[in-house]
């Protein structure tokens, strides 16, 4: 989806606001949202791509206005209902439906401590998939404009770059976010000259690296 989340290259977002000595969380509820989001992943009812897409479908005004954890909270509520872990009424009222069975949480405190290694993304796949490209090869990012989730930013579409390295095989977000299969394929680090992306104004030597799936690329 060509949306406000795909903001690489925009110039009107104002100055960067830096907070000195910023705390990890600004309010306790932020920490609870983070923890709930991480803990509910362990039900495997959705994946990180689907969770990301919940932010992307927010109206642009909300996307710009809501804080990060407000967006996460909105996305969590959405997925809980959409993926059947809770009903809309339960999420609205904060109370289990009458007669709802109590289940057992898959994530326990001992799995988290001392550090939550178990909350990994798990997006890499140990599969033999032929890479379509190799390091050093010239490629061009496809000009695709899917209405669903994609990790190919608009600013790179149609641009020519060079394969920097092959990262191995990963699930494909464009299908995975919509529960349409993992479609595992190679992901490459692709180098784009800043001038290719932004024109002659850009400094000659500067460059931007993007990680790109096989399905985002054509030979150049």
């Amino acid at each position: 989806m060509n949306g406000i989340h795909d903001m690489g290259g925009m110039q009107d977002m104002g100055p960067i606001e830096y907070e000195k000595g910023e705390p990890v969380f600004h309010t306790p509820w932020e920490s609870r949202v983070l923890a709930m989001v991480l803990a509910t992943f362990s039900w495997h009812k959705w994946n990180l791509d689907a969770f990301r897409h919940t932010r992307e479908v927010l109206p642009p005004e909300d996307y710009l206005r809501l804080s990060y954890y407000e967006q996460w909270f909105s996305g969590l509520r959405d997925l809980l209902v959409r993926r059947g872990l809770a009903t809309a009424a339960e999420v609205e009222n904060g109370v289990p439906a009458a007669g709802a069975a109590k289940t057992t949480p898959p994530l326990t405190a001992d799995q988290v401590s001392p550090v939550p290694l178990s909350t990994r993304i798990h997006a890499q796949r140990d599969l033999q998939v032929s890479p379509r490209f190799h390091a050093g090869q010239s490629v061009r990012a496809r000009n695709i404009n899917p209405v669903g989730h994609t990790r190919l930013p608009r600013y790179a579409r149609g641009k020519a770059g060079t394969i920097h390295r092959d990262h191995g095989v990963f699930v494909f977000p464009d299908t995975n976010a919509h529960f349409l299969g993992e479609k595992p394929q190679h992901v490459y680090s692709v180098r784009f000259a800043a001038r290719e992306l932004w024109g002659a104004q850009a400094p000659e030597k500067d460059c931007v690296y993007l990680d790109m799936w096989d399905d985002y690329l054509d030979p150049a």
Binding site: G8, I16, E17, G21, P105, T119, A194, K205, D206, V208
Partner: protein
């Protein structure tokens, strides 16, 4: 939030007579999830505690300091960051993939995620608000030198800027340059110099460290 769930910040908010609307809604959802058996409250507490107190830029700083003092470690780190970081125990060799990119006198690296807010949690903790904000995400790729100038870092024309847009499940960490004058410092003392901002690429590591630098929160 009951005090026992969020001890670190509760004092900031105890004078707030009426809990904020999001606080109430979040609390309601947590109650629901706990009552339905979807989450374990102790697991939530452990997660909050981990990100509030255990996982932060100190992890990355230790890695950087070791790379500075041990060339063999540095080579391992650049070749296979997960393997090298597993020495410290805060990352798994099979965990999410981390890549370390090295700053030199002629190369400056900068990390961003234009599409959302991907960030190397395992070694830097949770990202600061500015990293997740629209101004940083939008301009880091089109005008990295302007962004760095906002952070007080002016780079010469002889320096190549490499921006890493974290569009997939790879997480990037900048290995900053070791500042001059630190030859006599221990690995531990060096680690204390390394800031989050330097490991994102919006600052350099400076020695001696500036007074009142409270960037680091853990």
């Amino acid at each position: 939030m009951t005090p026992d769930l969020a001890p670190a910040h509760e004092h900031e908010h105890e004078h707030q007579a009426v809990p904020s609307e999001p606080a109430l809604r979040v609390k309601a959802l947590e109650s629901l999830l706990v009552e339905k058996g979807l989450v374990d409250r102790a697991a939530l507490d452990a997660l909050v505690d981990a990100y509030e107190h255990k996982i932060g830029p100190r992890n990355g700083a230790r890695v950087v300091a070791r790379a500075w003092v041990d060339p063999a470690y540095k080579a391992r780190l650049l070749a296979d960051a997960n393997d090298a970081m597993a020495d410290f125990g805060f990352i798994s060799r099979q965990g999410d993939r981390i890549l370390v990119v090295e700053n030199t006198p002629t190369v400056h690296n900068l990390i961003v995620c234009t599409l959302c807010s991907c960030y190397p949690w395992a070694v830097l903790g949770l990202p600061p608000v500015w990293y997740k904000s629209a101004p940083y995400r939008s301009r880091a790729v089109i005008d990295p030198r302007g962004v760095l100038r906002e952070f007080g870092l002016e780079l010469g024309d002889d320096v190549q800027v490499r921006v890493w847009d974290s569009t997939a499940e790879l997480r990037y960490l900048v290995l900053p340059e070791r500042p001059a004058g630190t030859e006599a410092l221990s690995e531990e003392d060096l680690a204390a110099l390394v800031t989050r901002d330097a490991m994102v690429g919006v600052a350099k590591v400076v020695f001696p460290p500036p007074k009142g630098n409270d960037e680091r929160h853990s």
